[in-house]
């Protein structure tokens, strides 16, 4: 659980950093984006493998109730996130600028779809030169992000089932290896650094991790 939470926190942080780096003077830095996406990928793998382990260690439940604990909180929280999203452009730049820790949890849920809009605008203003393609996500990834944004709730239930199944096949050994190696990760408690976003204290924002995962998957692909 700890591992899962930590991985989630790092994923959130990475998405936030990735978005924030676009706002910096000088534009998107390729090396930084690559490094952030590497960390995000590792965090995602860790999260998925920790999830697999959590499933394996749970006592066996009848099939009907078992998906529910996962579905209900995300659906509630998702409704909250959806309600928050139509707040629009206005409050959005401020959370980014002030870098307040509590907002860091909420904004990534909104910010991941944002780059799709921002990048689309930039893309249309530049020539479709292959030389420029490196600085904006590819068209394919952007369309998927847009689809993710729109088809959130419908995809949610579909998405929740496949990842554990995928994780089952790909990750059991990796999970063990990762968990053995990541004692350092667990020791880095967020208690010490004051600037760190609170580790999943903001529960509603934390909970739709699985739906955020979809967007994160696409964000990783895009970068």
């Amino acid at each position: 659980m700890e591992v899962q939470k930590e991985a989630q926190r790092i994923m959130t942080l990475s998405v936030w950093k990735m978005y924030h780096s676009r706002m910096q003077r000088g534009g998107l830095r390729l090396h930084r984006s690559l490094q952030l996406s590497l960390v995000m990928r590792s965090a995602r793998e860790l999260y998925l493998s920790a999830k697999v382990d959590a499933h394996e260690s749970e006592p066996p439940l009848p099939p009907a109730p078992s998906p529910d604990p996962h579905l209900h909180p995300p659906r509630e929280a998702h409704a909250a996130a959806e309600a928050a999203a139509p707040d629009g452009e206005q409050p959005f730049p401020e959370p980014m600028d002030t870098q307040e820790a509590p907002r860091a949890e909420e904004t990534p849920a909104r910010c991941a779809p944002r780059p799709a809009k921002v990048s689309r605008k930039r893309r249309s203003s530049s020539l479709s030169d292959s030389g420029d393609a490196g600085l904006v996500p590819s068209k394919k990834a952007r369309l998927e992000e847009a689809a993710a944004e729109e088809g959130f709730s419908s995809e949610l239930r579909d998405r929740l089932q496949p990842p554990p199944a995928q994780a089952e096949g790909a990750f059991p050994n990796l999970a063990r290896v990762l968990q053995r190696r990541f004692s350092g990760l667990l020791n880095c408690t967020p208690a010490a650094p004051p600037t760190a976003p609170p580790a999943c204290e903001a529960k509603p924002a934390c909970r739709p991790a699985d739906s955020m995962l979809n967007v994160l998957v696409r964000a990783v692909v895009a970068f």
């Binding site: 003077r25 090396h31 490196g134 600085l135 880095c188 650094p193």
Partner: protein
């Protein structure tokens, strides 16, 4: 972790972003975030003032780069000077290359200590006289004036890089130089600004398959056909330009196998090489990644011959360093003139020197309190847990906003320049 914001005490534009001695060590150039270049010159040692060993004073200051805007991509181009490289002196003037993210410029720095006087076509205020009043021909004569140092841009090498330039390197033929960005390296002739040759291109056909970028590049000090470039994956490639026009296939590939016991969540990003430097002899290369400095023998590709731990106590703090972005800091490293000592920076305004022969190392601090003239720098020590001795500083008390990314070593003497945010420290060896 301590994060006092040193930059709030000064202007952000004054943050030094590069430091470089020229080939004789007479001049020291610094570039800053505001696009300015400041050149210091060493005082000539005079017989009268034996104690004042050549000090460095400001010689010239000029604005090298201005912020620009790329309208096509709606991106601002920072004026921050990423690198300065000197050309060897060939006449009375000095030449240097300075670069920001996109444009390289060749600057000529020259002295003027005479001025022509005695024009008879103009009056004292510079207004043209009525030609009817001029009855004699007078040739102006050169008269001494106060020394003036002027910097003029002689060449502007622009529009050749899609990505951000991280390195420039002057070739030993003194006719060409290279500029490297994240994915490409271009070769330029100093005389030609509207063309450059692309010699390395690692851009994949599909950007989604991108796994590594170029982080630094340098020409061999003697062989004008050889250069190296480092990658974000911790590898170094040595290329020979005689082999082919496009050096995508390396001649040598330097990579150390990963130590599985050191593997962690952030392994990949801390293995990224932030700087690569040839030794003066040309026999070795030195690389800097986040936690170590490594020396490689050009004849051995499978592992470095020496590895030095710069601040291994940070290995357990990588998570926090990721949060405050310090894990992305790009430290540089330098050789001394005889290649026997290497130096690199760290946090808390500490910098480290490693003696390759005696295997001794020292940690020193660049701070105002410690740097009164002729004061001797006291070695510092970081305590890694357990009992902290009196003079030691604990890891958690380190100030991560005070980082030394850029240092330089005089080519022949024991004089070092250390850039600590917006302050430049110059340390000299004690004279007996």
């Amino acid at each position: 972790m301590n994060c006092s914001d040193e930059s709030t005490y000064g202007n952000k534009a004054d943050i030094i972003s590069t430091v470089e001695f020229n080939h004789t060590g007479e001049l020291l150039a610094t570039g800053d975030k505001g696009g300015r270049v400041v050149i210091f010159q060493r005082e000539q040692e005079s017989k009268n003032q034996v104690h004042r060993r050549g000090e460095y004073n400001v010689y010239s200051t000029f604005q090298s780069h201005e912020p620009e805007f790329d309208y096509l991509k709606s991106l601002e181009i920072e004026e921050k000077i990423n690198k300065i490289r000197w050309l060897p002196q060939q006449n009375a003037a000095y030449f240097l290359l300075s670069t920001n993210d996109k444009t390289v410029k060749l600057w000529k720095v020259s002295e003027r200590d005479k001025r022509p006087e005695g024009y008879n076509l103009k009056d004292e205020e510079g207004r043209l006289r009525d030609p009817a009043t001029i009855t004699t021909l007078r040739v102006p004569v050169l008269r001494p004036m106060d020394l003036m140092v002027e910097a003029t841009p002689r060449r502007v090498f622009a529009n050749a890089h899609t990505y951000h330039i991280n390195s420039i390197s002057v070739n030993s033929d003194y006719e060409t130089y290279m500029s490297a960005d994240d994915l490409r390296i271009n070769l330029w002739n100093f005389e030609i600004t509207n063309q450059s040759f692309n010699i390395v291109d690692i851009k994949p056909a599909n950007m989604e398959e991108l796994t590594e970028v170029i982080t630094a590049a340098e020409f061999h000090p003697h062989h004008c056909n050889t250069f190296v470039y480092s990658s974000s994956k911790g590898t170094i490639r040595l290329c020979d330009m005689r082999a082919s026009a496009l050096c995508d296939r390396h001649t040598k590939f330097f990579e150390e196998p990963e130590d599985p016991s050191n593997r962690s969540f952030f392994s990949e990003i801390i293995s990224s090489i932030s700087d690569v430097k040839f030794s003066h002899s040309g026999r070795y290369i030195m690389t800097r990644d986040y936690l170590t400095v490594k020396v490689w023998d050009l004849n051995m590709e499978n592992r470095p011959i020496e590895t030095y731990q710069v601040h291994d106590y940070l290995r357990s703090k990588l998570c926090s360093l990721y949060e405050n972005d310090c894990i992305f800091d790009k430290f540089e490293c330098v050789w001394n003139g005889s290649d026997s000592v290497i130096m690199t920076g760290s946090y808390n305004n500490f910098f480290r020197m490693f003696d390759r022969n005696t295997k001794r190392d020292v940690t020193l601090e660049a701070s105002r309190e410690n740097s009164k003239p002729r004061a001797i720098l006291k070695p510092r020590k970081v305590c890694v847990g357990g009992k902290r001795r009196k003079d030691e500083i604990s890891v958690d008390s380190l100030d991560f906003s005070k980082k030394i990314l850029h240092t330089a070593w005089h080519p022949s003497e024991n004089i070092i320049a250390v850039a600590a945010t917006n302050n430049l420290y110059i340390f000299q060896d004690k004279v007996n």
